[in-house]
């Protein structure tokens, strides 16, 4: 029941024109099914298990079973999101909702959070969940040996410093902070490093990690390194009663879930068509034709695609040239072409699917060629070449660059493509060594986190894109302000300032595409992309 809050790109029925291809893909599917059924590994996971088994394809196996560990990859986050829970959880509009805490009180000075915990919740090993477990989990993650990547959020470096965690009774836990923080709760829900509430049975008697024993709807049952992870429904899961939304609300596990590592996307598609897997992430250029056996779910994402401009470059330091670049191209048209109509132009760093998105955020650049001419002339642009860096690994970044280069040239701005290998591009991004760059940020769960990574002092940190002290001060001013409307106001202001400064051209939020077999019911998408398998059934 995932209805995105704000208007989103309509769900499209996708089709291909060539009927021949549909016909041949069916035959490929049959051949593939024959091939794969005769070639299944002897471990027997293809044999029908007692419970139905949902199979989800991941590109590479998880590298650890501990949430937030330094070794983690995206699939670690995805798998564990079904296994562990925190005090709070994110809804699909990325707002904070209760999870293991039913409610909480914040002291007037903002420095004390009192959480009232749920009753009757059990861990996967059957032991009851109490406030002592919250304290234990927090202490475990904050130990340097645990390898938790987000200690900075709680020790004062990137967030408030937690002075003490106290447990007045088994269902109340109190966090004392050194200063008010608007993001204290949000940080707990960070997909890469959730503040998971774990049982101490997750570690052995020496404190070394064993496996995640959490409170989530699924139990971490089996892990064959390099191949798959198997989750089983937690029979004693106590679901919340609110409507499911994002990772919050009611969760009812219905089937086993197996995360299967299949490195190649085309191989995943083939596996889905032959019934070996049921659901997978898919990119726009690999979509199969419409078929009664599967469908594609398109939903909004929260990862902004942008064209960056190096404001320290001698040529681009002139805001008139940057502004000219922003006005030279039909941005909605480019977004439409690049995303195949599945995303729309969003000029703001705040994703349009988020609760914080406002009408002010929707104000973008409108193509204005006469103004471009005027600006270029005023800046004294004499046709110098600008390099636009991109890579081949992410087709959207490449397509965007190809279109932008061509359209900029048509508008009189001499842009030249420079295609580099992705690793090199990341290096150039982090060192600021580029002029124009077609790039895509990964999602942040709150606009302040995105603005925080984008704003900064370029002379100290070459990775930041927007060097504006006033904007930085404005962002810092809401560090302790939790009131959503006040924050919205500030984000709107920041957006306006960014539109004036033109440090980059934000284009759209990469949509989330999922290819699902019609045997599954209840699969939904949300901007953070993590697959949730509670509430999903399989025939």
């Amino acid at each position: 029941m995932e209805i995105p809050v704000s208007p989103t790109p309509r769900l499209l029925a996708l089709r291909r024109v060539e009927n021949r291809w549909i016909h041949s893909m069916k035959r490929v599917a049959i051949a593939g099914a024959l091939a794969l059924t005769t070639a299944l590994p002897a471990t027997g996971w293809a044999a029908a298990p007692a419970l139905p088994e949902i199979r989800f394809a991941i590109n590479t196996d998880t590298t650890t079973s501990m949430p937030g560990n330094v070794l983690r990859n995206t699939f670690t986050d995805e798998i564990l999101a079904n296994v562990i829970e925190s005090l709070v959880a994110l809804k699909s509009d990325l707002s904070v909702a209760p999870m293991l805490a039913d409610s909480w009180d914040i002291s007037p000075d903002g420095k004390q959070y009192t959480f009232h915990l749920r009753h009757g919740v059990l861990f996967h090993d059957g032991t009851p969940f109490t406030s002592a477990d919250v304290k234990w989990s927090f202490d475990f993650f904050m130990k340097p040996q645990s390898g938790y990547v987000c200690r900075g959020n709680y020790d004062g470096h990137r967030g408030p410093k937690v002075l003490a965690v106290t447990t007045p009774d088994p269902h109340t836990v109190v966090f004392d902070l050194d200063r008010p923080s608007a993001l204290f709760l949000t940080h707990m829900t960070e997909p890469r490093c959730p503040l998971a509430i774990l049982s101490h049975a997750s570690v052995d008697k020496n404190g070394a990690w064993l496996k995640p024993v959490g409170t989530g709807p699924f139990v971490f049952s089996e892990w064959k390194q390099g191949q798959y992870v198997l989750l089983k429904p937690f029979a004693q899961y106590q679901s919340r009663t609110e409507a499911p939304s994002g990772l919050a609300g009611a969760k009812h596990p219905q089937a086993d879930v197996r995360f299967v590592a299949i490195p190649d996307e085309a191989a995943q598609v083939s596996a889905l068509m032959s019934g070996q897997i049921d659901v997978m992430n898919i990119s726009e250029n690999n979509l199969p034709p419409a078929d009664p056996h599967w469908h594609v779910i398109v939903g909004p994402g929260a990862d902004p695609a942008a064209m960056l401009m190096q404001t320290r470059d001698p040529l681009l330091a002139d805001v008139r040239i940057r502004r000219a670049i922003a006005l030279a191209v039909d941005l909605p048209g480019v977004v439409n072409a690049v995303s195949g109509g599945m995303a729309r132009y969003n000029s703001s760093l705040t994703p349009d699917a988020e609760a914080f998105y406002t009408a002010g955020d929707a104000v973008g650049y409108k193509q204005n060629l006469p103004e471009v001419k005027r600006l270029l002339a005023a800046a004294g642009y004499a046709g110098q070449t600008l390099t636009l860096e991109t890579n081949r690994r992410y087709p959207h970044m490449y397509s965007t660059a190809v279109y932008m280069q061509s359209l900029l040239s048509q508008a009189g701005i001499n842009a030249k493509l420079q295609v580099v290998e992705w690793g090199t591009q990341v290096n150039d991004f982090r060192s600021g060594h580029f002029q124009l760059m077609s790039f895509g940020y990964s999602a942040r769960i709150e606009p302040a986190l995105m603005y925080g990574d984008v704003l900064g002092d370029k002379s100290k940190n070459p990775m930041v894109q927007w060097d504006n002290p006033k904007a930085r001060a404005l962002l810092r001013s809401i560090d302790g302000v939790s009131d959503p409307s006040a924050r919205k106001q500030v984000f709107q202001q920041l957006h306006q300032m960014m539109m004036d400064d033109v440090p980059m051209i934000v284009l759209y939020d990469s949509p989330d595409l999922t290819l699902v077999s019609n045997r599954l019911q209840g699969v939904t998408t949300w901007p953070l992309r993590l697959k949730r398998f509670s509430n999903v059934t399989k025939n």
């Binding site: 051949a31 990547v149 690994r393 690793g423 940190n461 930041v464």
Partner: protein
């Protein structure tokens, strides 16, 4: 014989050492490191430090080299940074795939090329010879990756006879696994046939010109006997060297074919690890390839005298 082997092996040691040095330096010369690549656009210097420390990247390069070599000597190839699996395990999983294709292709190529080369030498400068020579020049001109793509198109997309990608090991799927090998092996064999044919032909011509062949013919031996009993074994020697070269070359060039057919082989592991800056894996793979090269050459050198009694060890 033994002293020869020892001598050759000891000559290989400095070679391998130089290779390890080269490998180590080269991969680190590539801009970017695995930690910052994994971090991507996240602006967290403390986390970057933490990751670099856990991957052992915060030490000086000479120190890293010494650590790597000392682990190597005890058989530990290190741990993949991206996959967090032992490098040796990854190589053990992927190398058989590459080897299967290379060996099958080489075997197939020899089965076709050796008779073809012999035949061409026997029919020298007549139509049969010209056909073989022209055919082999044509084959060697076809890039294996183009042949691979066209084979996929023809047999996979149009005719639906064979799978277009993927792999199943023999141990798991038995004879059914062979259908994943057919197209890649054909693509690789095409080029190989040409090289082996030409060498076989050239050395057969040399042998056929020798006096004792004329002598054998004068004695009244059948042509077949002359060819199979007298020509083939003697012409095979130089051809063996070429086969060794080809084998070594293929082990390295696996990357291209494995990319086309999406095979989980060592070549593809190597290329992907270069892209993700997975230093330990790159170092391990290149080391293994260099060792194989040296080993193959050694084996070929040792087998050569069997076919050429003029050589004494």
């Amino acid at each position: 014989m033994l002293s020869y082997i020892i001598k050759r092996l000891s000559m290989a040691v400095p070679t391998v050492f130089i290779v390890t040095l080269l490998v180590f330096g080269m991969i680190r010369a590539i801009p970017g490191d695995p930690a910052s690549l994994m971090l991507g656009d996240l602006n967290d210097p403390a986390l970057l430090q933490q990751m670099r420390h856990s991957f052992g990247l915060d030490q000086s390069i000479p120190a890293q080299f010494v650590i790597w070599v000392s682990h190597l000597l005890s058989g530990d190839f290190g741990m993949s940074i991206v996959r967090h699996q032992p490098v040796l395990e990854l190589i053990r999983e992927t190398f058989p795939v590459t080897a299967e294709i290379v060996l099958a292709a080489t075997f197939l190529a020899c089965v076709i090329a050796i008779p073809a080369g012999l035949f061409a030498a026997w029919m020298q400068n007549r139509r049969g010879d010209l056909a073989v020579v022209m055919g082999s020049i044509m084959l060697v001109s076809i890039p294996s990756f183009w042949a691979g793509i066209l084979l996929i198109w023809l047999f996979g997309v149009k005719l639906h006879l064979l799978p277009t990608f993927g792999y199943q090991p023999f141990s798991q799927a038995g004879w059914a696994s062979l259908k994943y090998l057919v197209l890649p092996v054909i693509a690789v064999t095409l080029g190989e046939i040409a090289v082996v044919t030409r060498m076989m032909r050239a050395s057969s011509i040399e042998v056929l010109r020798l006096e004792y062949i004329a002598h054998a013919r004068a004695k009244g031996l059948s042509e077949r006997r002359v060819l199979l009993r007298h020509t083939l074994p003697n012409a095979f020697g130089p051809t063996l060297t070429v086969i060794g070269l080809v084998l070594g070359h293929l082990l390295a060039g696996g990357a291209v074919i494995e990319t086309v057919f999406t095979l989980p082989g060592m070549g593809r592991l190597l290329v992907e690890s270069i892209y993700s800056r997975d230093y330990p894996v790159v170092q391990g793979c290149l080391l293994v390839i260099a060792l194989l090269y040296v080993l193959t050459n050694l084996v070929v050198d040792l087998l050569y005298p069997i076919f050429d009694p003029r050589l004494k060890l």
